[in-house]
Symmetry: D2
Subunit: 492 residues, 4 copies
């Protein structure tokens, strides 16, 4: 096997296994190895077009690289004696085409810009996946909401029965939140998609490179504007992790609800068996384990974010090896977010909502009391705070019938509701959850008319977002196709 | 003094001071009290226009509110017996205009949507300040860079002398990073600027409210699309904190450099006395304390971000009191970021850069060795890896003169550089930092021609960003002016 | 007013208000000002005893310090023109006794050791309070548990009804966890209680000081063993915050339960009105707000911990101003933990547990199914996994009567339970929650016999812990008394 | 292959690969699989001794388990169709010995107590390793310190030359800090080493188990005192991670110094080649990469800690699947701490300290100015603050010769130092770093006499700590030996 040529000149090499392992980024580099072959190709095409490398070397190298592209990088390149896959891959290349050729690929670049380019390309792919999966989940939420416009349920504040709402209204709240997550991913993508290649170690290079060309070949919008920034910045990683953490904080809330709604107390939902586990000891158990693990993913992603922030803090310019320790946290955090989205979409899609239990609970816990107070204001002229106090007192007394309300009104405000015309019939209709919900037709409210309108409007947004991510994905695929075509033309 | 009427109906009230304090958000509410008066006015204008409140009550209330706007909310409203400023303010209003009028302002809304609206309005102002201050710092960096296009200095990787660069190139890297911070703040602003008012507790209200109208009066782009999302979501707070944390992670790097550059070893910079401290015991000391405190602010902001994420995790819909604990972290984290920007701009503007020491160091530490290796590749046909190894070996031998290089070439690759035409003169010019820098004129590189071009291009970006934030600010000011005018018309 | 003499020699002073505020630790210093007067006294006693300061100066200074001790430090010492209270206090002292005397107190020390000593003294007090409050909460849990040895309730895993247990068993779990929190605080105290005074800036001093003497006067176990470590280390702050974060993570779980148990679905508990809030719009609401805010405190403390860790990361020796930014996070995080303990103890003490509802639920959800499976194993010889599968299948079929079990046994294992002797009566007794609980009398189990034993045993532990913290507190009070006595002797 | 029998009864099973993977803890379970076999053996011995399982089944099972112990658990047990290794292992056992026997091992326990026991056993081993490695590093620091009692170097505050100290003094500061890390690990160990086994799902079991016996067999100090606490608590994991985070925050400081000391500016240290890397492009580079990666490990561990805290927050009793997501963070964070200790010990042991450069720098930057001010106080009767100001002013004027000091004294205090007897000779001796250091012989100071004493004292502490950890390790090994012997007796 080739030894690590990068160390050959300057350093002796008797590193222990522990130190080798400590320095090596090999495990993490597997995540970017595919990207690295594309980066090599683009760099080589540029070197060749600019006349920095001669044709013979270029052809030999490109043939080897196309082999890597088709068959994968040979396993020996991943040996931990190499500090990273870049060193390992170069050693294998030199083994294949000789040092006279193989030693030329790394001209006019450095591992610093190379690895930054690879990470951005891989992260680009992940952000597209995150956008797609966010859309899938939003689609599931919208479909489920559309099917439940009239499914009355209690809404909660402080986990207490508060006011009646509908399942559609509840799910639409999450879709709305997730659309902001989508937007954050899209914004992050736009900021990310600039090409560091050509920054070399940080000071660019004296070779006559063409950064616009490599940027285009690799599907970037443009080269990064400062070569020191290009290799040093990891704000894109922090941003992506923060976006994922924000999103999983939101999905953890939906998971918490699925867990509570699955309890024997609530029974609003039955998760599909596939999304549940049982107990090794309690045979009757059916546990919402996927929701629990997903709730915990917030912690995983928040931890990765903290790692990235702490690692970056206080590093001077330009590249520091600390940044190598950051990258695995990026993949780890993003992976957790992605799998959460996938599993959550499946969980909701396959869940059974117990609409009868929901309806039954909607009327409990005095949850239409606000409506009753509002009726006193609208129809019987009481100040809101007075009506609020009367109804609150009646609840404390234990009932919302006319006698109790009358007693409460006397006690709180020294007035008679009966005299003002309140009847048992009016009380009954005010306390009917369906009536209460239907009246709440302001923008964003739970009335079926309004949630129906919202479902349609949100689907249009979703379609637009899906089109947007599809176009980003297509542009990336087209860039790869073109890059390979160029590479094959050179190697032919 | 008025007692807390909100609790009057439902709850007895013998809370201990400790529990009162624990429940109270009064300290944090001072941050949003000004906003709350504007929210009251907009809500009242809408109630009046929609005929939900009668004219007499509306006029009385608006006169009181205009008094609050001009003179501030009376101090008694801040008593901790009230759970929050909203309850306190209502009690004072009722004291002024009577419960028959004062008890009507809270119709068709809840503290949940009220506080969410206030927080967004206050955060909007902070984001504008962050954008402005980011621009100021970027301006300082660009001016300083423009003055130092030819100030040669060593660039570092791993804090080791690596390759020569210029102070302009170094500072431009930070400007570039900060422009992404600006963009993140701007994106966050756009997502934030939707109005929760009218969502009431979470289920909107049966009163015939006009959410578009209040949104417009308060300078929002539109009402939020789902009333449950409107009161429950705090992703905007997490996003703002994450953006601040990302930015302070970057500024902590510049601070680290100012600290290192201020040492007796490096002496690249002398901070102004105003930005320094001395020691209570060591009379000779002049310490870069502002840079140190600012470096630490990363921790403060990252902590606030973690608090917000942890608090949000696993909360069910809709409003939970946990969210009250989140808000102070928002102001605390953002305040730390803002003051860092202000102080950093002043610190850089008033710093003196020791260009002679920079130039002297630029040639040290074999930092032009890469250029020498590149020359061997470009002019003498060696493969890059071979040239890299030869120069590395010569460094290990202790010198980069022709004899040493020749010996290294023999040892590493069995070849003679002398025979290939390498001369002491060519070596000398390759090792000259200014020559090396001037050759690095690729896009984003340190060559003065390129950094000069970059300074001009970046100033254009900065101007565009400044215009953008000025226009957001102006729109907000115009909205307030119009709101007060409407309020005065009603009260007249 | 005196100006900041510390800056007089080395630095010019035209700092803007913003920079002054940025540098100042005045707000945070209020937390340690009382301690600082004690530190001054102890230092002065030592200087005098060692002959480093002459008697006349010592007497004048001590009289002034005793004035500060009795009446508080004059307000002018807190002006932000002074970087910190130490500089402010010295300026006031010099104003009172002249520079010839007042300028001598700071001999043989530095603000670095002074502030480290103050922080440790203040933190010592907080740790004692944390230990005391932890004991109070544990006492409440034990009393409540002792009153509910026979209160059957469902135990949960995954928030699903799992197996019956008792309220005593449930509360004892928290007491056990909190006793570990107590132990962590006690361990932290022991590590903390070493005296940094005399370390000066970091290199100690050439004056013939007596560090043992000041350490004893200030109630420390011993002087810290290395003067650089003494001023640089903040691991004690991280440890205290980590201990608080760990504890609040545990208390957040109890709060989550109080919130869930307060819902209309569960109704296991009714919190006292004092620990609840209502809604500004929904008059019927009674919300468990104290539990919610307390649940959120985990985020507050975790954030403070992250701040401290991030700030410390990568600081070189010895003192750096970054450490000033750390201290407020310490007080903030610890304060949140302390108030949580106080409020939680009150909340549990005043809560009403609905034992009937608990008993009713204990039998639901097939929660004694494990016991039934165990009976099949113990009395009818089935392998555990087989019994587990049969019962699980019967649950899926919807019932645990003999017919269903028989069908399940046939299907899963091709065997007949009837033939093996299972009867409806045996099933009924196996499914009785009280019987099931009574059988679980292993160490740590829920059987009343065992929880009764546990209550007694735990109270002994608690008494021992209370004695321990009382003795620490007494030692501190005795040290202050002795210090003041010594000071008065000198000043007499 | 066996299918997952745990799911057989209650759940259908058509889980997709994604959901299976999401639910599975297989990857993490590899970390505890070895422990699990020991737990099985201890549980089986207890079941057999208590007569809960019959002898034939016990012998068959124990033979299979001894096979697992000797040869490892068969690979098929790790298939992801099983939710975890416990289910996988049971399936393999049943495959080997049949369900009639294999289905009996899980009697009287649950995966909840089983996994909690495994995690504690594995963590116990890790804590012992952490204690050992901390001792190793402390040993290296003490040896290096002992060799450098007289190596004068500048001490720093704010990274500015402050006062002279010695390398011994500097390294002893770290040893002192690390001894507190050791103590924290030891305290955590004592709290950890209680046995959850027998807690079953959380409510213990009706079988007549003997928890004392299994606890003893597995090397625990005692069974945990409450069965619900036993399966629910993860404070031990948070504590271990917090201890590691605290320690890596300290080691990151030493790494920061190694990085700064390795720069071309400072050159206080040359790291061994084995602990360095070079650049792929800059042939002259020798970078302190191990120190950089280790500095970054603080972020990795802090992130793991945040993950654990966030995951735990707000979980109700007792077991929730969220806890599964916590465990990998535990191993990840602790692993990072451990490898940091190992590599750091090697890095310091093999580093070369440039004592000449240190000595040369010790006199620079007016770093003995404090001593000069102290001399004015001690020998010429000036108040400290006056002396401090005079010397500070002289530094600002640029020199510390008699003329400049005289001018400064006139300006600041209107007095003459010459008249008071100050001579150039006295100034020179006061400014000599070696003299200054030798005078600082207070407890914990840098004077060689004191650091020599400290080295001896600290070695005694270290020896005691080493003895302590050796005894813990030996106790664990003895427990395993005894357990295997018992197991073999049963299987014989």
């Amino acid at each position: 096997m080739q030894r690590d040529l990068v160390r050959r000149g300057r350093l002796s090499d008797d590193r222990t296994g522990e130190v080798m392992h400590f320095l090596s980024s090999m495990t993490a580099d597997r995540e970017i190895a595919d990207m690295d072959v594309l980066v090599d190709m683009a760099h080589l095409l540029m070197l060749s077009r600019q006349g920095i490398i001669d044709r013979e070397a270029a052809v030999a190298l490109m043939r080897a690289l196309l082999g890597f592209y088709r068959d994968g990088i040979p396993a020996e390149a991943y040996d931990e004696q190499f500090e990273d896959i870049h060193a390992g891959k170069e050693a294998v290349l030199i083994g294949q085409v000789g040092e006279a050729f193989g030693g030329r690929l790394h001209m006019a670049r450095s591992r610093n810009d190379e690895v930054a380019t690879c990470i951005r390309m891989r992260l680009r792919r992940e952000l597209i996946a995150l956008m797609e999966e966010t859309c899938t989940l939003r689609g599931v939420l919208l479909e489920t909401a559309a099917a439940h416009l009239h499914t009355i349920m209690p809404g909660f504040t402080h986990l207490q029965h508060a006011q009646p709402t509908t399942l559609a209204h509840h799910l639409l709240a999450y879709e709305q939140a997730l659309s902001r997550d989508f937007a954050r991913f899209a914004d992050a993508y736009a900021r990310l998609n600039e090409c560091p290649l050509g920054a070399a170690a940080f000071a660019s290079t004296g070779f006559p490179i063409d950064r616009e060309y490599t940027a285009r070949l690799l599907g970037f919008d443009r080269p990064m504007g400062n070569s020191m920034d290009a290799v040093s910045a990891r704000d894109f990683a922090i941003e992506a992790l923060a976006d994922c953490a924000t999103m999983t904080a939101t999905t953890s809330r939906l998971c918490e609800e699925m867990i509570i709604w699955s309890t024997a107390f609530v029974r609003f939902v039955t998760l599909a068996d596939d999304y549940s586990s049982t107990s090794s000891i309690m045979p009757q158990k059916k546990n919402p384990d996927t929701a629990e693990i997903m709730r915990a993913k917030t912690g995983t992603v928040a931890g990765a974010l903290v790692s990235a922030l702490t690692i970056t803090k206080g590093l001077p310019m330009s590249y520091n090896r600390d940044l190598q320790e950051l990258t695995p946290h990026l993949w780890h955090g993003i992976g957790a977010a992605e799998e959460s989205l996938v599993v959550l979409a499946g969980m909701i899609r396959t869940a059974t909502f117990n609409t009868e239990k929901m309806a039954e609970e909607a009327g409990k816990g005095f949850s239409t009391a606000t409506e009753l107070a509002d009726v006193m204001v609208r129809e019987f002229g009481l100040p809101f705070r007075t009506a609020h106090s009367i109804v609150g007192r009646a609840v404390k007394m234990g009932a919302l019938d006319l006698d109790t309300l009358e007693a409460a009104a006397e006690e709180v405000a020294g007035l008679s509701l009966r005299e003002r015309g309140l009847t048992p019939e009016r009380i009954a209709s005010a306390l009917d959850p369906a009536v209460s919900v239907a009246e709440r037709s302001a923008v964003g409210g739970p009335a079926p008319a309004e949630t129906g309108r919202a479902c349609i409007g949100r689907k249009e947004y979703l379609t637009a977002d899906r089109t947007r991510v599809a176009s980003l994905k297509k542009a990336q695929e087209a860039a790869v196709t073109e890059l390979i075509a160029e590479a094959e033309r050179l190697a032919a």
